[in-house]
Symmetry: C2
Subunit: 772 residues, 2 copies
C-alpha cells in the first residue's frame, strides 16, 4: 500500500493505514466488523474508484497482505510517533491523519475533511480495542507500571528494623546463624533416607555440642535455664533444614521436656543430662494409630503389679500401636510412653512412663517392635516409626510421677482428683511445643517470602508494546498474592513473641488463657505457613518447583505442622470452648430477650461505628485508622462468640445432646477461634508499633499493620456485610485501599525481607541471590 | 461422702452429689463460682452443722477428694441414670434428687423441699456448662451424630452412575484400568531419580506397545484417528503414577502433536510413526528461562542462510536456554524447538523447528548441551532438562511449515500476515494440552477424595460421654471440608467432557471461544485439584503425610499443573480479555450514563430476583431451585464483566496507557475469568442432569449440583451482598442449607467415590482399602 502511486497522489488515504494495521496485526476483529469498515469505505463519495478498490483490497480475508507489507506499515507508523501529542495517541484516526499530513505535498483538503467523521465513527464503534491499539502503535512512553516509582526502594533502615525484630535475643540469633552458615551444614540433595537421616543426626549432635539442646534445662543438669533462648534457637534453626529442627525438637523438647515437666528429681538426675547432650536419644510416644486428636482415648496399658513392684507396658491391639513417633525408627533408645495406668483392675487414666526401646548398639529391648514409617511427604530426615510393646516390664520408678504416683502400699495417689483434669494438667505443661512449632513455621514462611519476593522483583515478563518488560512484582495480581502474606508474617512475628512472653511469665491462673492462645496461634500460624508457601510456589512458577530453590522442601516439611502438636481444626474448637467458658455466668438465666440485649450490650463499645454514617464511611483517614481496625476485629470476635453461645443454648434447650449441639455449631466454633486469634494478632501488632521509636521503622510497620488489618477485613467482608457492620460502599473502598497498600508495601518489599536477615547460605535458592 | 453415716441419715444430701462431681471432674469452675456454692450451702438453715461441714469439706481446693472417691460418685450416678426421664437428664439437681429419692428410706420432706430452690438457682447460674455436665453424667442415649442415619448409605446404583460418568468411553476406560492393574505397573517406592525415570520410561513403552500413545494420530501413521480416545487414556492413566502421565503427554501429545499440527505431510511421514511408538523419544522445547508466560518474547534464534539452505538454531544468552523441558535430561532424541526465524536480518516472529538432541546411543548432537533440572517437588520420574543450542545447523526442511515457510527464493511466506496472529494461531492448535491437563488433574483429585472419604467414613475419634466414638465424617467440619470438594469433582467431570466435545467438534469460528474455555477450565480445575488435595492431606492427619497413602505424590505431582500449559493467573486474564471483546461494540460510544443503563440492562434478565422480596427470599424451595442458581451465577458473571469494562474505559479515558489500565484492573479481570467458568460449569452440570433418566442417579446428582451451586454462592457471598443481589438473611439461610446438603451428600459419600471406580491396585493407599 505504502508503495502505491495512488497513496502518493492522495496522502489522505494514509488516514486508513493504522486501522488496516489493526485489522491484520491482531485477531480481534470479527467478520461483521470488517464488513462495517467495508461498507463505510463504499459510502465515501470523495474517494476515486481506484482508491476505493485499493482500500477494499486490504479488507479481503481471502487475500491478506504479506507479512512484509504489514511490517512496513508498522515501521511507517512508528517513524512518526514522536510527532504525536498525547491526546492524538489515543486515536487511530489521529495517527492516520498525522501520517497523511506528513506525507502530503498538496492534499485535497475537502476530501480530507469529508473523511473525518466517518473515520471517527468507525473508531468509536471499535471502542476500547481501538484505543488500545492506538496506544500500542504510538506509545514510546514508559507505562507507569514500568516506572521507577515501582522499583524497589526502602524508606527505613534495615538494620534498625531487624533490631526491633530480634530484640534482646539478637546475640543468640547471630550466633546460631553463624554456626548454620558453616560448610558443615551444607544442604544435602538426596532421595536416600539412610543418608539423609544420618546427616540430620550428625547436625543435631553438633547443635548439642554447642549447648543448644539443653538450653532450657536447669543448670545442674548441664543446661542454661534459658527457655526463651531455647525458643529462639528453634526459630533460628528453622531457616535451615526442617528435618533437623524436628529431630532437635523431638529430642530436646518433647523427650527431654516431658521428663523434666512430668518427672521428678530422680528422673531429672537420671536422664536429663544425657538427653541434653544427645547421649541418650529419645522419643515421645503419645499418639496411637487409633487415637491422635482424642489422645485421652489411648489404649496402651501400664499395669502395676504390687508384688513385683513392676509395671508392664503393653499394646493390646494394632490400633494401640504408637505411630508417627519421631526418632523411633533408628536412633531412639528410650521413650516417654503415655499409657493408661491399671492398678488392681482399676483404670486411673493416662500417665507417662520412661520405657527403653533399644540399647546403644541398636539391639531392640525385649518385647519392643518398631516398624519404620518409611517415606513421607516431607521431613524425610526424621526417622519416624510405629512402636509395639509386647508386655515390656519396667520398674515402678520409671513412672513419671509429678502428677500421679503409686505409693508404698501400691495405691494410686495424685494431688489432682479427676483423671480428666490430671490428664489436661499434664498436657498443659507441654504447651511449649505449641509455641515452638508456629515459630518454626513462621521462619519457613519468611524464607519462602524472601525467595519469592526477591525473584519477583527481578523477574521481568510482559510489558507495554514497545516498552521494556516489567518486573512481575509490579503487577497488581502479584502484589495481591504476596504483600498481604508479608504483612501476615510481620504480624505473626510480634504475636508469637507475645505468646512466648506470656508463657515465660505464666502463673497458674493464666494457664487456661495461655493454652487457648497457644492452641489458636499454633493453628493460625501454621495454616498461614501452608497458605504462604503455596502462594510462593505458584508465584515462582516453574522455578518454585525445582528442589534447588527450596520452596519444595519448605512447603512439604511444614505441611504436617497443621496436624502435629494438635490438629488445627480440633485445636480451634478447643480455643472456642475456652472462650465460651467466659460467657457462662452471664448466660445461665437468660431468655432470648435477655440474650438479644446482651448481644447489643456487647456491641456497645462499637456503638459509634454502628451508626448509619459510620457504616458507610469511606474516608481514607477513617479506613486507615487503627482504632477502626481494632474495633472491627473486636466487634466480630464478640458477635461470633455471642451468636455461637446463643446457638448452643438454643440446641441444648431443645433437648439436644450437648455432643450433638457442639457438632451442629462446629463450623461456627472454628470461626470463634479465628476471630479471637486475629484480634490478638492485631492488638499485639498495634501495641508493638506504639513502642517503636525509630520513625522509619514505625512508618513501614504501620503500613504493614494497616495492610494486615484491612486484608483480614476484606477476607471477612461477607461477615461484616451480613452483620450490617459495613455497607457495600465501605467494603469496596477497603478493597481499593488494600490495592494501594499492596503497592506501597511492594516498594519496600525487598528491604522488608532483608530485615528478616536470613543468611544467603541458609536461603541457598539460586534465584534469591542478592543483586550485587 | 457416699460412705458417710450423715448421708445415710439424711439422703437429701445426695442432691449435692452431681454438682460436686462436676466441680472436681472438670476444670471449668472458677474460684468465685466455688465460693458461690459455698455461700449457698452456708445459707441453708435446714442443714445440720455437721452436714454443712461435710458438704463444705468437698469444696476446699486445698483438700480435694481422692481420685478413688470421685470415681465412686460417678459409679453411683451412672447406676441410677436409667431411672431418669429425658427432662430430668438436663438438670444436675434432678439427677441429685433422684439419687436422694432412691437412697431414701424416710426423708425429711420439708428439708428436701427447702433445698430445691437454692439448688436450682446455682444450676441456673452455672448455665450451659451445668446442662452439659448433666448430659454427660446421665446420658446413655446415643447422640444423633453417632446414629445410623449418618452411616454410609447409598440411594442410587453405583453401576448406573458410573455408566453415566464413563459414557461411550466405558470400554476403553476399562481396558486401560485392566492394563494398569497388572503387576508390571506396581508403584515404585524410591528416592532414586535414575531408577524412577527408567521405570517411567518402561511404563510408557508398554503403553505405546498397546497402541495408546498414537491413538490420536492418523491411521496412515499407525494411529487410530481417535482424539477423544487419547484424552480418555490420559485421564484414566492419571489414576496411576503422574510422572508416567506427564512423560506420556510430553512424548505423544506435546512432541508428536506439535509435529502433527505445526508440520506438513513430509514431517508426518518422517516422524509421526516413530513418535507414536516411542522409537523416537522427543521433547517440546518452547519455554525459556527468561520467557515462560510471555512466550512470544523467546530469544532463541533460527537464522536461515539461503546459500546453504540451512537454518542455524542458537541460544544467544543464558536466559534464552530452553528450561524445564520434559524428556530432555535423559531420553529425548529430537525436539520441537520454538525460535524466532531470522531471514536477511529481518525477524519473522516465532516458528517451530525439529532439532536433533542426541542419537540412539545417547551421544549428544554437536552444539547441544543439556543440564539436568535435578530433583523437583514432584514428577521426579520425568527427566526435565535445560537445553542450550550453540549454532546447531539443521536443514531448511526441519522447519515445521504449516503456518509459515521459506520459499524457493529464500523469502518468508505465510498465509497469516501478522507475526502475532500467526503465533497465536500456532498455539491455538496446541490447545489440546489445556484439555488433557485438567482432566488428568481431576483424576488425581478423584483419587485423593476417594482415599480421604473412605478413611473418614471408618476412622472414629471422640464421641459423646459414655457413647462410642464417632466416624470423623459425621462431624460437620469434616463434611464441610470434603463434601463441597466432592461436588466440585462431579461438576468438573461434566464440564471437562463438554470442553472435550467442543474441541472435537470445533470449527474455525469457535476457536476463540474454545481457547478461552480451555484456558479457564484448565485454571479452575487445576486450582481445584491443588485445593482438594491440600484439604485431603489435612483431613487425613498424619496418615495423609505418609507416602504409602499416596496423597503426597498426588499433591506434589499435580502442584505444577497450575503453572504448566500456562500460568493460571495469566490464563484467567486471557479469558477475561476474550470475554471483554464481546463488549466492545456496545461500548464504543457510551458515556457514563449510557454505561449505567447498560449495566442495568445486563441485569434485566434477573429483574425478578432484584426485587426486595426475592433478595430476602429464604424459602428452601427457592434456594434449592436450579433456576435461582443459574440466574445468580449469570448475574455475577455479567456484572463483573460490565464493571471491569467500565473501569478499563474509565482509566483509558483518563489518558492511562492501556497496559497500565489493564494492570489496574488485573485483580478484577481474574474474577471475570472465574465467574465465567463457574457459570459454564453450573450450566453444563444442570444440562447433564436434565439428560439423565435413571432416577437414583438423577437424585444424587441434583444434590451434588445444588451443593456445588450454593457452596460457590457462599464463597462469593461478599460479592452478592455488596451488589445487593442478596440480603444477609438470604446468605445466612444459604450457609445453613450448605450444612444440610453436606450432611445429605455425606450419606452417599462412599458410594459416590465408588462410582469413580478407581481400581484398588491403583488407589493403593492402605487406609483406603474397601471394607469387605
Amino acid at each position: 500500500m505504502i508503495n502505491s502511486p495512488l497513496l502518493k497522489a492522495n496522502p489522505s488515504l494514509y488516514s486508513f493505514l493504522p486501522m488496516f494495521y489493526m485489522v491484520w496485526a491482531d485477531d480481534v476483529l470479527t467478520p461483521s466488523e470488517i464488513k462495517n469498515i467495508q461498507s463505510l469505505i463504499n459510502k465515501q463519495s470523495w474517494l476515486k474508484n481506484e482508491e476505493r478498490e485499493l482500500l477494499l483490497s486490504y479488507l479481503n480475508p481471502a487475500k491478506p497482505p504479506s507479512p512484509n507489507e504489514i511490517k512496513s506499515w508498522l515501521t511507517e507508523i512508528k517513524r512518526i510517533s514522536q510527532e504525536l501529542s498525547p491526546e492524538m495517541k489515543t486515536s487511530l484516526v489521529d495517527i492516520g491523519n498525522k501520517l497523511a499530513e506528513l506525507n502530503s505535498i498538496g492534499r485535497d483538503e475537502v476530501a480530507f475533511q469529508n473523511a473525518q467523521q466517518p473515520l471517527r465513527d468507525i473508531e468509536d464503534a471499535l471502542g476500547i480495542i481501538s484505543r488500545e491499539s492506538a496506544f500500542h502503535l504510538a506509545s514510546n512512553d514508559r507505562a507507569a507500571t514500568e516506572a521507577e516509582t515501582l522499583a524497589s526502594q526502602k524508606t527505613f533502615s534495615v538494620d534498625k528494623l531487624r533490631a526491633i525484630l530480634d530484640g534482646d535475643q539478637a546475640a543468640l540469633i547471630a550466633k546460631v546463624k553463624t554456626l548454620l552458615s558453616d560448610p558443615e551444614f551444607k544442604y544435602l540433595d538426596t532421595g536416600d533416607l539412610t543418608e539423609y537421616r544420618e546427616k540430620v543426626l550428625h547436625w543435631c549432635k553438633i547443635l548439642a555440642s554447642q549447648g543448644y539442646g539443653n538450653r532450657a534445662y536447669p543448670k545442674e543438669f548441664g543446661g542454661a535455664d534459658d527457655m526463651e533462648g531455647y525458643f529462639t534457637i528453634m526459630e533460628t534453626l528453622s531457616y535451615h533444614d526442617l528435618s533437623m529442627v524436628i529431630k532437635f525438637g523431638v529430642q530436646f523438647g518433647l523427650f527431654g521436656m516431658s521428663i523434666y515437666f512430668l518427672g521428678t528429681q530422680k528422673h531429672h538426675k537420671k536422664y536429663l543430662a544425657d538427653a541434653g547432650t544427645l547421649n541418650l536419644p529419645g522419643c515421645f510416644a503419645m499418639t496411637e494409630t487409633g487415637h491422635g486428636s482424642n489422645v485421652k482415648g489411648i489404649e496402651t496399658t501400664a499395669t502395676y503389679d504390687h508384688k513385683s513392684g513392676k509395671i508392664t507396658i503393653h499394646t493390646p491391639n494394632p490400633k494401640a500401636q504408637k505411630e508417627y513417633i519421631g526418632n523411633a525408627a533408628l536412633h531412639g533408645q528410650m521413650a516417654t510412653v503415655f499409657a493408661k495406668l491399671i492398678i488392681d483392675g482399676t483404670d486411673y487414666g493416662v500417665s507417662a512412663f520412661v520405657v527403653p526401646l533399644r540399647d546403644k548398639k541398636s539391639n531392640m529391648h525385649t518385647g519392643v517392635t518398631i516398624k519404620d514409617c518409611g517415606r513421607k511427604m516431607g521431613l524425610n530426615g526424621v526417622d519416624n516409626g510405629v512402636i509395639r510393646f509386647d508386655n515390656v516390664v519396667i520398674p515402678k520408678e520409671s513412672m513419671l510421677d509429678r502428677f500421679a504416683s503409686i505409693d508404698e502400699n501400691g495405691q494410686f495417689a495424685s494431688p489432682i482428683s479427676s483423671d480428666n483434669r490430671r490428664f489436661f494438667t499434664m498436657l498443659g505443661t507441654l504447651v511449649g511445643g505449641r509455641i515452638g512449632i508456629p515459630r518454626s513455621g513462621l521462619s519457613a514462611t519468611k524464607s519462602g517470602l524472601t525467595i519469592a519476593i526477591r525473584y519477583a522483583d527481578g523477574r521481568k515478563q510482559f510489558g507495554p508494546e514497545g516498552g521494556s518488560e516489567v518486573p512481575i512484582l509490579n503487577y497488581r495480581t502479584h502484589q495481591r498474592r504476596l504483600m498481604p502474606l508479608l504483612s501476615n508474617a510481620y504480624a505473626l512475628h510480634f504475636a508469637l513473641q507475645y505468646l512466648t512472653q506470656r508463657f515465660l511469665k505464666r502463673t497458674e491462673e493464666d494457664m487456661q488463657e495461655i493454652e487457648a492462645l497457644a492452641a489458636g496461634l499454633k493453628s493460625w500460624a501454621t495454616w498461614n505457613a501452608t497458605a504462604s508457601l503455596q502462594e510462593c510456589r505458584e508465584a515462582l512458577g516453574g522455578k518454585g518447583y525445582l528442589a534447588e530453590n527450596r520452596i519444595a522442601a519448605l512447603k512439604n516439611d511444614t505441611e504436617i505442622y497443621t496436624t502435629f502438636e494438635g490438629d488445627n481444626t480440633v485445636l480451634m474448637q478447643l480455643v472456642a470452648k475456652s472462650r465460651l467458658s467466659e460467657f457462662r455466668q452471664e448466660f445461665g438465666h437468660m431468655n432470648l430477650f435477655g440474650m438479644l440485649n446482651y448481644v447489643t450490650d456487647q456491641a456497645k463499645v462499637s456503638i459509634q461505628e454502628m451508626n448509619p454514617i459510620t457504616i458507610r464511611n469511606t474516608d481514607k483517614e477513617h479506613l486507615l485508622d487503627s482504632e477502626f481496625h481494632l474495633a472491627a476485629f473486636r466487634y466480630r470476635e464478640k458477635s461470633i462468640l455471642a451468636s455461637s453461645a446463643k446457638r448452643l443454648k438454643h440446641y441444648i434447650d431443645q433437648g439436644m445432646d450437648s455432643f450433638d449441639a457442639f457438632n451442629q455449631c462446629q463450623y461456627h466454633l472454628v470461626m470463634v477461634g479465628h476471630a479471637y486469634i486475629e484480634r490478638i494478632i492485631l492488638e499485639q501488632f498495634q501495641q508493638k508499633i506504639e513502642e517503636v521509636t525509630d520513625e522509619g521503622s514505625k512508618h513501614i510497620l504501620t503500613k504493614l499493620c494497616q495492610l494486615f488489618a484491612l486484608s483480614q477485613i476484606e477476607k471477612n467482608k461477607g461477615w461484616y456485610l451480613e452483620a450490617d457492620y459495613m455497607a457495600g460502599a465501605k467494603t469496596k473502598a477497603i478493597r481499593q485501599l488494600v490495592n494501594t497498600l499492596c503497592l506501597e508495601v511492594r516498594q519496600n518489599a525487598v528491604a522488608l525481607t532483608d530485615a528478616f536477615a536470613i543468611p544467603d547460605a541458609l536461603l541457598a535458592a539460586p534465584i534469591a541471590v542478592r543483586k550485587p
